[in-house]
Amino acid sequence: MTSEQYLSARLRRAIAEDPRTTELGVRVTVRGDHVLLSGEVACEHRRAELEAVIHEVAPQLQVLDDVRVANVSEPEGQEELR
């Protein structure tokens, strides 16, 4: 269990500090042989970069990628503050 926690901390730092990713808004959860990524990135290309960096640091883990790509559609409503 302890080693899973260290591994997940290492992976999290890797995606924050690697210039290819620099993602602080992506969560990393290690469960046994799997690593789950969740959060949001600005475009599709960055999901692939995340997977590549994770794979380099922990090639033994199977990556499950739940990361969303940002929705950039026009707002459908507005909020009136009274």
Binding site: P19, A42, H45, R46, N71, V72, S73, Q78
Partner: protein, 247 residues
Amino acid sequence: MIRIAAVGDVHLGEDARGRMRPALENVGEHADVLLLAGDLTRHGTLEEARVVAEEFAGLPVPVVAVLGNHDHHDDKEVEVAELLRDSGMHVLEGDAVTFQVDGLRLGVAGVKGFGGGFAGKCGSMFGEREMKSFIRHTIDVSERLRSALFSTDADVRVALTHYSPVPDTLRGEPPEIYPFLGSYLLGEAIDATSTDFAVHGHAHFGTEHGLTPGGVRVRNVAQPVIRQAYAVYCVEPARRVAVAAGG
């Protein structure tokens, strides 16, 4: 009524160029001003800043921005701000800008802000010099926000930051990292200056709605939170209770 569009944490780079543009070109139909709550880039490089400048150039409404921690990463925050200003954007850091909208004066004061934590669970200017300079930076930027808000003569006064002034909009983030996400000193500056509305980003897993201890509405507009190109808020001048002389 003033319609304020706002978004933060768009993290643009060459690979995301043009993605927001279709929604931005119609921003004039939704809002009178567009606020950008920091983290416009990924690494704070001039190349990325150029993408930001092009993405937000030539819009039908004024664009007002503060920088975020990502925009500082390459240690070129001054050059990044300059490049964005040259493209027509207002980039605030301890200053303010005023616009005439619908017969009303809208004032926006902005700073990046910083961490430190919230009342009762925060760092203080004590101990190692690293710790002192961390908290000193928060105190400095909060004081700059306070004086920028205070000196803004407007019917509607808005505070724009990257870091959060309240813990409310951080719900969803692990409580252990709140001290890296904002500071109560920013909230105190907002509450001390008859500010009407506050907008911030930075907390991707946070929530949109919050309130300062003094009753000012706060919105976390980080793009992963609002899940659209920008959110729109309609703000009216506060009905401030006039204190009768001698009353």
